[in-house]
């Protein structure tokens, strides 16, 4: 059984997550620059004396493919690496996956991770 651990984190936390996940034995991950808002909403800035609202805050989305039994541990590793206790730390969710394939070899399931 496979799961996808998805974390939306502060962009400058990518390095810490990378090191922590490698330390936990994760063999690969995908990161994407994303924008969004959570409970804190956007924030207001000024530019040349006029105000503007940043509705969508820049974040990085980290995706890690893991065996389902490891998913909670991996999520815990990410929390430990990124938690500051301040608003905007981000969110993690785990999704069950139907299948995965390693393109090079055609291996499927847990062998593809």
């Amino acid at each position: 059984m496979l799961s996808l651990v998805t974390a939306v984190i502060k962009p400058y936390m990518v390095e810490a997550v990378n090191e922590a996940l490698k330390g936990a034995g994760v063999a690969g991950m995908t990161i994407t620059e994303v924008k969004g808002f959570g409970r804190q909403g956007g924030h207001t800035e000024t530019y040349r004396g006029a105000e503007y609202t940043v509705e969508f805050v820049p974040k990085v989305k980290v995706e890690v493919l893991v065996a389902t039994e490891d998913a909670d541990t991996i999520a815990g590793v990410i929390v430990a690496a990124t938690q500051t206790g301040k608003i905007g730390d981000g969110k993690i969710w785990i999704t069950p996956l139907a299948q995965a394939t390693r393109i090079r070899t055609g291996e499927m399931g847990i062998d593809a991770v």
Partner: protein, 471 residues
């Protein structure tokens, strides 16, 4: 411009500069020939610095606008210079510096540049040859023209902008030249106008054209919220803005000291006054903006530098270095308030060109009447400024000068933009504006056609240039 030789019948005379020609070199003292060559080479180099300002304007305007319009704004900066120089060569220069006509309200010296094919032909201005003087003046004409593109950025049709560029350098700017540096009615007053390097003649002319253009165009989509309050549309590259402002700073050491029109010991003084005014403008703009909005905005500090430089351009020949600091500082103060003012009255100027060039150019021109201590060769007397016992005589002239320049430039450019609006159209369609002018007006984006695909042609990229999507 210093010490214009009014006695010489302008450019039509084509007076031969014997001393510049090697064949005549033995007949005159060697030092004199060296001075003539030095004068010409210095003013040539100053002209090169002024042309370098085109790069500064292009960077400032590109940085303060959005990435989807970067190709368009660079193209406008390129073409207003190219079209402007040729239009100025064919008729503008002649209107500016030809034989006086209509009682000093116009001039004409025939099509083209008299004497330009003869290396020794005098321009009638000090030791400068026809070619030197034209080259320097063409750089100034291109500066007046390019100021406007920033205020009208992100929504003006390219072909309409191109047509406007021809008219400002062929007619609108040259008429101001005819009244002033060309020796017309403002130079013939009992207390003649003083505008050493063109706070009003060049900068306010560009600034007031920018005002009319931005006014007639209307604001960019999204600039004002449903509540009518101005909303910021941040530019896409602040590094370009600062780099551009510094390029303009360097160019100004051709603009002001070059306007001496000679290589003499006044040139370094002009450079120092220019230097300190720019620094004071940047610092005061930063401080005021910091107090007003809580953070020191980078682009407003850059605008402050330019405001200080525009302000010192008129008084640079007549004021002390201390006065130059004050004049530049006031320019930096004014520009912050002026940008907020035009924002509030719904004249959308993405780069602050109206405030920097129109408003601070006018301030600089009036500051002559307050701070003038030295004779800059326009004033014809020392201590002409109010603060040095000169009374208000010069202020009346300067007020008439800036008022007349505003009425002519705003009137003529307003009619021009309205005529364009009702014929070929001034503004792109809302769909084009939202998609960006790069693809719609020019066929390809300024950035990033290849960043996703590594330069491989893909269907998505190719479809962006199909005729069905071009405006």
């Amino acid at each position: 411009m210093r010490r214009k030789l009014l006695a010489v019948p302008a450019i039509s005379g084509a007076v031969v500069l014997a001393m510049a020609a090697p064949a005549y070199a033995q007949e005159i003292p060697e030092g004199v020939a060296s001075q003539v060559i030095l004068d010409n080479i210095w003013v040539m180099l100053a002209g090169v610095l002024v042309f370098f300002m085109q790069a500064g304007f292009a960077l400032v305007e590109a940085g303060l606008t959005r990435a989807k319009n970067v190709g368009n704004i660079m193209m406008k900066n390129l073409m207003d210079c190219m079209a402007g120089v040729l239009a100025f060569a064919v008729v503008g220069y002649s209107i500016g510096f030809g034989e006086e006509a209509l009682g000093g309200w116009f001039s004409w010296g025939g099509l083209g540049i008299p004497g330009v094919n003869d290396a020794d032909a005098s321009s009638g201005y000090l030791n400068l040859s026809s070619s030197t003087f034209f080259f320097f003046q063409a750089a100034f004409a291109a500066t007046a023209a390019t100021i406007v593109s920033g205020a009208m950025a992100e929504r003006t049709k390219f072909k309409s902008y191109f047509f406007y560029s021809l008219v400002i350098t062929a007619l609108i700017y040259p008429v101001i030249l005819a009244w002033t540096w060309g020796g017309g009615w403002l130079a013939q007053r009992e207390y003649p106008f003083s505008d050493f390097a063109g706070s009003t003649i060049v900068h306010a002319t560009g600034g007031w054209c920018a005002l009319m253009g931005a006014l007639i165009l209307g604001p960019r989509i999204g600039k004002y919220g449903a509540d009518g309050k101005p909303r910021a549309i941040p530019g896409h590259n602040i590094a370009y803005v600062v780099l551009g402002a510094l390029v303009l700073f360097i160019g100004w050491f051709g603009f002001n000291p070059g306007s001496e029109l000679a290589a003499d010991m006044y040139v370094p003084q002009l450079a120092v006054r220019t230097l300190v005014a720019g620094c004071a403008g940047a610092i005061v703009a930063m401080m005021l903006n910091w107090v007003k909005d809580g953070k020191p905005d980078v682009s407003m500090a850059a605008n402050g530098l330019l405001a200080g430089l525009v302000a010192i351009t008129a008084p640079v020949g007549a004021v002390s270095v201390g006065s130059a600091v004050i004049i530049g500082a006031v320019g930096g103060f004014i520009v912050v308030l002026s940008v907020a003012f035009f924002d509030r009255i719904k004249i959308d100027d993405p780069v602050g060109a109206i405030s920097v060039h129109g408003v601070c150019g006018t301030w600089g021109t009036l500051s002559v009447a307050l701070f003038a201590q030295y004779d800059d060769a326009f004033l014809g007397r020392e201590d002409a400024g109010l603060f040095y016992g000169g009374g208000l005589d010069q202020m009346w002239t300067q007020l008439i000068f800036v008022g007349a320049a505003f009425i002519w430039v705003a009137g003529a450019s307003g009619l021009l933009f309205l005529a364009i609006k009702h014929t070929i159209g001034l503004r792109v369609t809302p769909e084009e504006e939202m998609a960006g002018l790069d693809i719609e007006e020019h066929g390809s984006p300024g950035y990033g056609l290849d960043t996703v695909t590594g330069g491989l042609p893909v269907l998505g990229a190719a479809s962006a240039t199909t005729p069905s999507m071009t405006g």
